[in-house]
Point group: C2
Chain length 357, copies 2
């Protein structure tokens, strides 16, 4: 196993220790249960944004904790959902009295545990809502997911909602914004290689020397098709057109109804991209692909968007939501409005995303 680790069972803890030692000005780490939180938490009167999920996708989420982004992140074991007690303790630690938004990627374990944490937090008087991210157009249902998986849009939602909370949006406003970001964002990824979970020690799946997996999930879940590796331009076109030509998508999600004190089903529908849309184009490395290759992809993506009349007004290029050392990339397009652009541009100061400060 080609990794810089000690015992596999210490992987998450030791990585968190390293973060804590490296960034004491930005974050603190709580152990047992594990969560990373802003060193200046709780911020009185500010809505707190918390996310979390399995480890192995770094920098997401733990390295996105800090001013203008997350108040806390709950890392599970590698590719394993965090537990409700992590989420509850994180909420208790960072709630500044204005409530908490859990941003939840759509994987069954994450959804279940964040729902449980929402109920627990409410029993101790913390006002919590959760919003699902389900932006992966690759497949309808997947190995660990009913409905679409949550991928790249999560990073963008954390930045945009974090900025909104920093600017004084109330909980309902941040929640509405987060839902809108999710409905405006669509993603798809591909893998050229597998990755190896430390505790398992062998690759999650195998790909031939000239094979790739189109529509890969961030835990190595099967995508749309395994096929012969293509040129960067062809791969980019397959990802980009899958996103751009994706049709109207309707799903039912569970949201907490405060008045009724129970979960209710809400139908959410998002619309295809259209000519003249302004978008943020996010080209992401799955971990093992260097940034030089991401720019080759970005080049083709910009050309495709231009042909389609879609205007890229912001971008993000780099490894932000990864699958350990997997080689490959994903593309996310997020339709932007003026408000979202202002919030994207707002200052942020976290271990892995920083500008304006």
């Amino acid at each position: 196993m080609k990794k810089l680790i000690n015992k596999p069972e210490d992987f998450v803890r030791e990585s968190l220790v390293g973060m804590a030692v490296a960034h004491p000005d930005l974050i603190k780490v709580h152990f047992d249960p594990n969560f990373v939180y802003r060193s200046d938490a709780p911020m009185q009167g500010k809505v707190a944004i918390i996310s979390g999920g399995g480890s192995g996708h770094e920098p997401m989420h733990t390295s996105f904790v800090g001013m203008g982004m997350l108040d806390a992140a709950c890392p599970g074991e590698v590719f394993t959902s965090p537990t409700p007690d992590q989420m509850l303790e994180a909420a208790k630690t960072v709630d500044g009295g204005a409530g908490v938004l859990y941003i939840v990627k759509n994987y069954s374990g994450d959804v279940m545990n964040f729902e449980m944490a929402t109920e627990l937090a409410r029993t101790v008087g913390i006002r919590v809502f959760n919003i699902l991210i389900d932006d992966d157009v690759a497949v309808k249902d997947s190995l660990y997911t009913q409905g679409r998986r949550g991928v790249g849009t999560t990073v963008l939602a954390e930045k945009i909602c974090g900025a909104a909370a920093e600017r004084g949006y109330d909980l309902q406003q941040v929640m509405d914004l987060c839902r809108r970001v999710n409905l405006n964002g669509r993603s798809m990824g591909l893998a050229l290689t597998s990755c190896t979970v430390p505790a398992k020690g062998t690759p999650t799946f195998t790909l031939g020397d000239n094979e790739m997996e189109m529509g890969i999930g961030i835990h190595g879940e099967p995508g749309r098709e395994r096929m012969a590796q293509k040129s960067a331009d062809e791969m980019t076109e397959m990802l980009a057109l899958s996103i751009i030509e994706d049709s109207t998508y309707s799903r039912t999600v569970r949201e907490w109804d405060e008045d009724g004190g129970e979960w209710v089903d809400v139908e959410l529908i998002d619309q295809p991209f259209q000519r003249s849309d302004r978008v943020l184009a996010f080209v992401n490395s799955m971990g093992g692909t260097p940034i030089s290759e991401l720019y080759i992809v970005y080049r083709k993506l910009a050309e495709i968007c231009q042909k389609q009349g879609i205007q890229i007004v912001r971008n993000l290029v780099g490894p932000y939501i990864t699958s350990l050392e997997m080689q490959g990339c994903s593309i996310t397009l997020l339709k932007l409005d003026d408000e979202m652009i202002r919030l994207w541009d707002a200052p942020v100061k976290t271990p892995s995303l920083r500008w304006g400060i």
Copy 2:
């Protein structure tokens, strides 16, 4: 070959096109000869900082062009020195009348071509000096190098000297500072896997399933020893102690003598680290190693430094000087003084390093 590329011969050009399209607010790209330069160049009255070298080490150097860091970067083909005409045209484009510093990693091809470019630039009236970075303690001479190779300290020198130039240091001051940064910085790296140069299509070298190369060069040059893979803590200790316990190092470098109008030999000596030194600790991914593992290394490095009485006052953790998709890491320790700390903290705005703005 597991890469997101089209034709191997188009790798560098297409990656540069992507950068230009993604970051028009920060950089422009000139083709034939190829160089990346600040979109607001030339800055009248400011010393211009130029670096360059083979491609394949991204984000270094091209993604470090921008406010507070490089004025231009000259990318060669992958792992191949850029040519003097690239360096000359870059100097002509960004010189604002206050002269140019070439920051040169110590590889024979780079050294020769930057020396030639220095002479050419001087014939057209541009005042140019070059400073070598030779910070790799792993081996005395190497495959492409007489003396120590230039590695991680290059990134730090580019940031610190870029900030100095931005603040109005004159050419002599920036040159003296760059030399001091080089003398204060020491590095060593290791590889868990090889990497594949696109034009070759097969790995540069091979490592067994349980092997690593201690003291690897950034082009895959042999290091000190090939050995069985060890735990992250043992690997970190080998790198850190090699750096900390490295003895006084003396070498002769060629510098341009302005009065005599010729190259002269200068002897430079740097001293070992000492207790109570304040350092910047830089844990770098060789490209394919995820940031979660870098934090495991950082954690142990911090512990070792503390034991040795060396105080880490700044750090940098991430992929900044890479070898394509190679898995592995390098450590750089840079002894800091107050001036260097102020310059490190100064605002920077480049595609891959950004803060304060």
